[in-house]
């Protein structure tokens, strides 16, 4: 039963990874920028969920309704004021900028919230139910997974059917041609970064009940999101979704059958293997970077 237990928890955790990675992948696709502040944006989502709950008693799942628009506006504003200046510039500049933004966010959080890890505990934080065969399913993780599925479906419909969604995809496939269609690509970049921030913060809020919340809690997710984006193919949002689940399951399996210290090693080895064997990733087209 260890197998099924690991499979289920791997899929549930993988959903969160997928959500975070999809945001990163969208930003990469539309703007051609690797966002090293992505994990810190996730951390902000965790704190927002924590304080909305402890101060205002808003359930973390309900608080998403507030966190998502706030995160979108925050991301949009950061792009408009800072990130748009490095689009199309050498990648060292982009890395410096996003790493710097991440450091500012992390250290501001350190000053504001101290380094003491916080724990968000709701009435159902540690409740779970059992499937036949003694497989236990955590209620908050299951709810998070369902919300993730909903957000993914909305994102998918947005990208595939709306005019703005299609324009985002067009910009990601050929920025110059998108301009020639009359698409305002700098606005598309801001929208993409807004959505990326929204997805990162949502992922943070969704795991706020499951992980310790501290100013650098996002960093483990940054590396994972990169791995997932590479696995799924940089710039492919669907690929990031599938890749997230794959990494979640691989982690859970290696924790179960090797040991939990080894799971990060296994993920990292997988990362290197993809880079060597299939740099385009599963669904990728932008293999060059």
């Amino acid at each position: 039963m260890l197998f099924f237990q690991s499979l289920i928890s791997g899929i549930l955790t993988g959903g969160i990874y997928a959500l975070a990675a999809m945001g990163m992948s969208l930003v990469f696709g539309v703007m051609n920028i690797s966002n090293f502040a992505h994990g810190d944006l996730m951390m902000l989502g965790m704190y927002m969920a924590y304080y909305l709950f402890t101060l205002l008693n808003i359930d973390p799942f309900l608080s998403l309704v507030l966190i998502m628009p706030a995160a979108f506006v925050f991301g949009y504003a950061i792009e408009k004021t800072m990130i748009n200046r490095v689009i199309g510039h050498p990648s060292e500049n982009q890395i410096l900028l996003t790493v710097g933004l991440g450091l500012i966010m992390g250290n501001t959080a350190l000053l504001a919230f101290t380094s003491d890890p916080k724990i968000l505990t709701t009435s159902y934080s540690s409740s779970s139910f059992n499937l036949p065969g003694d497989i236990s399913v955590s209620i908050p993780m299951l709810l998070s997974f369902l919300v993730t599925c909903l957000l993914t479906a909305v994102l998918y419909l947005f990208l595939s059917t709306t005019r703005t969604g299609m324009a985002l995809r067009a910009t990601s496939q050929n920025r110059e041609a998108a301009q020639l269609m009359g698409i305002d690509v700098s606005r598309m970049s801001a929208i993409a970064f807004g959505i990326g921030t929204l997805l990162a913060a949502s992922a943070g809020a969704l795991i706020a009940q499951t992980y310790y919340i501290d100013p650098f809690a996002g960093h483990t997710f940054l590396l994972k999101s990169f791995t997932i984006c590479v696995l799924g193919g940089l710039g492919s949002v669907i690929g990031a979704g599938v890749g997230g689940i794959v990494i979640g399951v691989v982690e859970a399996m290696s924790a179960a059958y090797l040991s939990s210290e080894w799971k990060d090693v296994v993920v990292f080895v997988l990362f290197l293997a993809i880079l060597l064997l299939r740099p385009r990733g599963l669904f990728g087209r932008k293999g060059e970077q």
Binding site: R169, Q173, N174, E176, A177, Q179, M181, G182, R285
Partner: protein, 231 residues
């Protein structure tokens, strides 16, 4: 319709266009002729705003030299770039939808017209752009440009990589597009074909205009004959 005076443009520190002046009149087909690297594509990119330029550029009486590319499209100038640049992972009809990005309300009427012109596209609306053959991609690129309802259509090497038969189809379409009231600015390697269908032409060499005249005059000009027609 389009008045360009003393236009300079380049990439980084490197100047490419040196004080180019030219004008496009409403309703005509105008050819730009020049050897590789002369700056033909750079000229079109400066007009569409993809490359920053200095100098003066007026379209329908209003200055456009400082506008962003999407604002220039809104004024009615559509640029079909060299090398097609279709969206490889959008379907044919999604590509065309992007062409009509600024006027989605006219999508239906435009698409009928475009499908009439290129029946091959009508046969496969759901094929991914990237899986089309080179010639089909070229048709898609032109069709996508027409979806934007241009007043001035700029075509950069529309027959590049096409078999002679396809090239002829494309040239026939350009004539038809022009008869429907669209002014055309044409850059072509196939100098003979392009000058034959053009009212006027400009010859540019290393970023400057060196010769201008009617299509017929240029075809008969000894310099043009020698440099571009191999005669």
């Amino acid at each position: 319709m389009l008045e360009i005076r003393n236009l300079n443009a380049g990439y980084g520190e490197m100047p490419v266009l040196k004080s180019v002046s030219l004008s496009v009149s409403k309703g005509e087909i105008l050819s730009i002729v020049g050897s590789n690297g002369a700056g033909k594509s750079t000229l079109l990119k400066s007009i569409s705003g993809v490359v920053r330029a200095s100098g003066s550029m007026d379209f329908l009486g209003a200055p456009i030299v400082d506008l962003k590319p999407h604002e220039i499209v809104r004024r009615g100038i559509v640029h079909v770039p060299e090398g097609r640049k279709i969206f490889p992972e959008l379907t044919v009809s999604e590509n065309l939808r992007m062409g009509a990005f600024l006027n989605p309300q006219h999508y239906r009427s435009r698409i009928e017209m475009v499908f009439d012109l290129f029946p091959r596209l009508a046969e496969r609306p759901n094929q991914l752009g990237g899986t089309m053959s080179g010639g089909e991609q070229q048709m898609l690129a032109i069709a996508r440009g027409l979806m934007g309802d241009p007043k001035l259509l700029m075509l950069d090497e529309p027959s590049l990589g096409l078999s002679p038969l396809y090239a002829e189809t494309v040239f026939r379409s350009i004539g038809e597009i022009n008869r429907n009231g669209v002014t055309v600015l044409l850059v072509e390697q196939n100098v003979f074909l392009s000058l034959s269908i053009s009212n006027r032409g400009y010859v540019i060499e290393t970023g400057s205009v060196v010769l201008t005249g009617s299509g017929q005059e240029l075809l008969e000009n000894p310099q043009v004959k020698k440099a571009f027609l191999g005669m």
